[in-house]
Amino acid sequence: MTELLQNLINGLAIGSVYAIFALGYTLVFSILGIINFAHGAVFTLGAYFTYTLVVGQFENNGLIKGVNLFPAGSPFHGSAWAFAAAALIGAVISGLVAVVIERLAFRPMRSRGADPLLALVSSLGVALVIVNLIQILVGAESYSFPTDIYGDLKPALIFSLGGKLIVVRTVQVIIFAVSMVLLLILGYVIGRTRVGKALRAVAENPGTASLLGISVTRFIIITFFLSGFLGGLAGTLVSTAFSVAGPYFGVAYGLKGLAVIVLGGLGSIPGAVVGGLVIGLAEAFVPAEYSAYKDAVAFALLFVILLLRPQGLLGRVQIQKV
């Protein structure tokens, strides 16, 4: 029983990390129908930006040694406010980076009518550039945020239930909450507002959308900014839970993220969250002695679910009228 509860908590915790990664990922997919592999890199960038702003010290292996927006002695140094400000600035910069990526790596392709799959290659190229630039600039090692980043919050809640310990990490509660809130906001904007309707029209058919007076270019820019913003913020949050784990940090989520959004149903915002939680839970419920097969279990589950529901959990069936 306690074990079940603990697994549930662990699963939700890991799952919400996947989910928060996947939100921005699925946003771009739902609008443009492209898998943006650079999302992982933007996610990483968000973490690095924030880290640079609040801590800003790097090791010997890169060209940059450090910047710090709130150096020791400045009024905000080490406060939770400094962190919040940095996280926000980091997210905004990430959003801008995403817009630049769209402008340079995707838009020209769209106007040439290229296969949307090609965007996958192009975004892979962008990811490669970003990751390696990070490595050249600041080296490959990992960095952690100071542990007091969330002020006085305890790192974890631990209580005992029937002699067994139950552990809940504070950061993960925060991530879970944030991803839920973002889900609600995004869900509302896309599902209920005029902007959301226009976005869906662009997603379905940009040509037709423009024929209705919708400025496709503007909406795509907004989408990328949002996606980058969410990605950057997610990167920061996740890295406070773990660490800014080197230049490949976010890219490593690429595959899981893809699994999450496909499982949840491509283009579905709630699907991204549900997909993340399902995969997280599936992994958590793998018995310890088979933990080596954790990844296999998650993917086998994915395989099976896709066979049963080819459109993903919350995806809509692609009806085609003949």
Partner: protein
């Protein structure tokens, strides 16, 4: 000055020149019909006006403004709406959403609501289907939706590409009465139709296109009885389907 003025327009698909030096004009308040055989370049001309295609040469002026390199959404904002060939409904959105999106450039929610209701009065079938995904509508229902959606932007100039296509006879009559009604309200129209007779009976002037060029034009009532038009478009005679037409098509082939 004419509301729409097309001068010396040429449009290419890659190496294929589909429209070659077309000039035509539509006066404010006029209904103009464009007829021609399959592949003559009618659709291409309309798409150039709505900016879905870029002209290679020539100009398209709307209300005195050169549409030049404007994106299609700007053209809509200026007051050009199109009911396109192939209907182009947003298959995964509901009928209601399609209509609302048709009014995307407008802001007044109450007016929009009223206009949607008006479409539902015009096309009761759409009202029945208001929450159905547009992609699952029957062909004719989609055609109604495409027309209704184009009306939602309250255009000054309405481009209709074969509006009667796939519609039952009663509905076709209904469509033409809507056309007249809108025109009476001041909407200018450029109409491409295969039902040439009906179109000419309901329009002021007619242009005939062949192989990417305007071959002749004139007031509709004259054109209806014009020998050449009669022969080619109003079923003057029956031959094998391969005859006659292939000649015209060869014209557009030569350029390829």
């Amino acid at each position: 000055m004419a509301l729409l003025e097309i001068e010396n327009l040429s449009v290419n698909y890659g190496a294929i020149q589909a429209v070659r030096g077309v000039s035509l004009s539509v006066e404010e308040g006029e209904i103009v019909t464009l007829i021609g055989a399959n592949g003559a370049g009618k659709t291409t001309t309309l798409r150039a006006v709505s900016r879905m295609l870029r002209a290679r040469e020539g100009s398209v002026r709307f209300a005195g403004q050169d549409l030049g390199r404007l994106p299609p959404d700007e053209a809509v904002r200026l007051g050009v709406a199109q009911s396109p060939e192939g209907r182009q409904v947003l298959a995964r959105q509901s009928v209601q959403d399609n209509l609302e999106l048709g009014a995307y450039t407008r802001r007044n929610a109450a007016e929009i609501r009223a206009d949607i209701e008006q479409q539902y009065v015009r096309f009761p079938r759409l009202k029945e289907r208001r929450n159905q995904m547009a992609g699952t509508l029957s062909g004719g229902e989609q055609q109604m939706l495409a027309i209704a959606r184009a009306l939602m932007s309250r255009p000054r100039l309405l481009l209709l590409d074969e509006p009667s296509l796939g519609l039952a006879p009663i509905i076709v009559l209904e469509i033409f009465s809507i056309i007249r009604e809108l025109n009476a309200q001041g909407v200018t129209m450029l109409l491409v139709e295969q039902n040439a007779k009906l179109a000419m009976q309901n329009s002021h002037r007619t242009y005939v296109m062949e192989a990417g060029q305007v071959t002749f034009s004139g007031p509709s009532e004259q054109m209806v009885s014009d020998e050449r038009v009669l022969h080619a478009y109003l079923g003057g005679q029956t031959e094998g389907p391969e005859a006659g037409r292939s000649e015209q098509r060869r014209g557009s082939m030569d350029v390829a």
